[in-house]
Symmetry: C2
Subunit: 399 residues, 2 copies
């Protein structure tokens, strides 16, 4: 009775509908595919969705009814957008931290909040915090010039060294693979802070995805294996094949601890390296729905998008357990064929269980324009179906 | 290779993107919850969705970006709306048959087409056609006055008799339960044709749902049990408990035959009576996604909404098989509490696997404003969870 008693008025008491409905408005900053899929997940809950998008052609702007076109870097635009929203959340991590603090000062709940989000915005802040709370990371150091890089390498990391701009990089952008001190000049040309990290000798990449709500409830999805091609996520397998229960539990516990210690609200993706010694090291953090969680749309009881919405609204979270023995997500990148719709006939006829998720983006070579999910009991079969469909849509497979 | 060769141009051939994308525009007439959920199912396919809605407040109009506000009974409005749509389909069956023929004459594919849809619009035409193709129906006759009703009863059906206006009724509206000739005057006052049907002695109601595409592919969902309260669907159980394989197969075969013989394109719901003798009789037809198929959103590999979209676009259909041993759908009707959002806390905390689907409608007593789906291995548990959630949202259960 507790909830009912505290929140609901009975019509019969007054003979009318007191106050009407209170379905909240979720404001999402950024019009990419994550916003598109979060909107899709919000529809069944009756949640009202408001979008701040760069252009009307953006992925989410095509399918959301309440769209504001504007620049998230402009505080006045953000403030105007936030009026009438019950909570603000994000498609990306690029909103300046000080703007988020200003919105909070205006009384708008921002989830995740700026104090959490800065760890996903600034890789230097992220590494410092993770070390402070005892989370295993690759060796790393903020470096100011190539000489610093050489010193970092000499003190134990060795070459090659990974250099990353502390802000703004993703999907291989803002990241340099440096084999010698002579290679190390480029990253410093922009004059922004650079983080040096050792090149970790890993057997594979994993991701531990969790969702946390403001009152502290949290759920952990099964740990997945993420396969990259040219620095871009290509395939995700859920759960990670052959991962020991101990290491899976350790990864989930680590992600839950990071979410709690950093005060994350919403979906947190912790990208991990699994080392030959069976250790895990944190690679990156993302505080939003994440590519490594797209499998949950068709493979879990509650998708990452639905749980992100529930978390930012401080609703009880949904069951994160898998619905199939194996689920595989294959990213669809733009290739030589601009018209992916023409490929639907073949893909759908070949595999009636295939789940296609397209983002409404124009095809450009290498651009993520969609993904497919497959699931079943036989991993080889599930993998083959996902890879075939992703390859056929891209045009690298033609039969 | 067949599909690829016939439809796709390779960028490399020309050095640019020839023709760009061909993702089609589906025009949906009617802004109710069926349109809302069809839009939701179209988003992952990248299908563009255009809506003709009575008001901007309609269920689907709240979540679709491309909405035309207008009256579907006006041919000019329909024609304007249809321009730029690759195909027209429906949230309801109320568009005048002659308007659909006019759109077809304009060259717009209408799916289902008027020759099929008339069987869902006019119960007289429906009964005549079903008898012609040998599908078992209750005794019935078009009647002109109470004397006709008395004659119909005397010739074998007996009282009570069900009287239905041949057009426009649904959810118990336009339907009279007549116990004697003295009761039979009301239905004739409007001066519209009336169909008399025997009151079938049934043990339960079933629904056989199928989807058919223009090139003749068809899929059949498991036959479900549909439980009505006061003439409105309350609970759907998939599959129908205890239904023999033989009768289930007969019902599916019957629905597939009706779809084919009537030329249906899209989702067809065949509502059935199961008699004490183990026979099935056709009660009603609906040529659109249907309440008895809402369970497929969470309980089948491909939902009725996704398959309806695929069918009207003549794409290969998705797998209709169930994903769980049992799935139960519970309709959420408006009750005494106007604010269902306040009930989310309790419902979601009690059952983390619960799937809520709300339609964005204002609560009015007895109005369908949403539904819930539950699934699992234990039917009693799955039923209890659906009934609890639907009752709590409505306000008839308060703990």
């Amino acid at each position: 009775m507790g909830v009912r008693g505290s929140g609901r008025s009975r019509v019969a008491d007054t003979g009318r509908y007191p106050g009407g409905v209170t379905f909240p408005v979720v404001g999402m900053v950024g019009g990419g595919q994550l916003a598109r899929m979060t909107h899709e997940a919000g529809i069944p809950l009756g949640i009202k969705f408001k979008l701040l998008s760069d252009t009307p052609q953006d992925s989410a702007a095509q399918v959301v009814s309440d769209v504001v076109i504007g620049d998230y870097r402009d505080l006045d635009t953000l403030r105007d957008f936030a009026r009438g929203c019950d909570v603000i959340t994000f498609d990306h991590e690029h909103v300046p931290t000080e703007h988020l603090r200003a919105l909070e000062a205006d009384g708008i709940p921002v989830r995740p909040g700026p104090d959490a989000l800065v760890h996903a915005q600034d890789k230097g802040v992220m590494r410092e915090k993770l070390m402070e709370i005892g989370v295993p990371c690759p060796r790393h150091r903020i470096v100011r010039d190539p000489a610093d890089v050489a010193a970092f390498a000499a003190e134990g990391a060795g070459f090659p060294v990974i250099l990353k701009t502390v802000r703004g990089g993703y999907d291989g952008k803002g990241v340099w693979f440096v084999r010698s001190v002579e290679d190390a000049a480029d990253p410093f040309r922009a004059g922004v802070p650079v983080l040096a990290e050792e090149k970790v000798d890993f057997v594979r990449e994993l991701a531990a995805n969790v969702v946390r709500s403001p009152h502290g409830q949290a759920v952990a999805y099964p740990v997945v294996e993420s396969q990259q091609v040219d620095g871009v996520c290509d395939t995700v397998i859920a759960p990670a094949p052959g991962l020991s229960e101990a290491l899976a539990g350790e990864a989930q516990e680590l992600a839950l601890r990071v979410a709690k210690e950093l005060g994350v609200v919403g979906h947190l993706a912790v990208e991990l390296f699994e080392t030959p010694e069976g250790r895990i090291l944190v690679n990156e953090l993302a505080m939003r729905p994440h590519n490594s969680g797209h499998w949950t749309q068709d493979g879990a009881v509650t998708s990452q998008f639905a749980n992100h919405v529930r978390a930012v609204l401080d609703l009880p979270l949904g069951d994160p357990r898998p619905r199939a023995k194996w689920t595989v997500m294959g990213n669809v990148l733009g290739g030589d064929y601009p018209d992916m719709y023409a490929a639907y006939l073949h893909c759908m006829a070949r595999d009636p269980q295939l789940k296609i998720h397209m983002y409404g983006k124009d095809v450009k070579p290498g651009r993520k324009v969609g993904h497919v999910n497959t699931y079943g009991d036989d991993l080889d079969d599930v993998l083959e179906r996902a890879r075939h469909a992703a390859g056929y849509l891209r045009g690298t497979i033609t039969e």
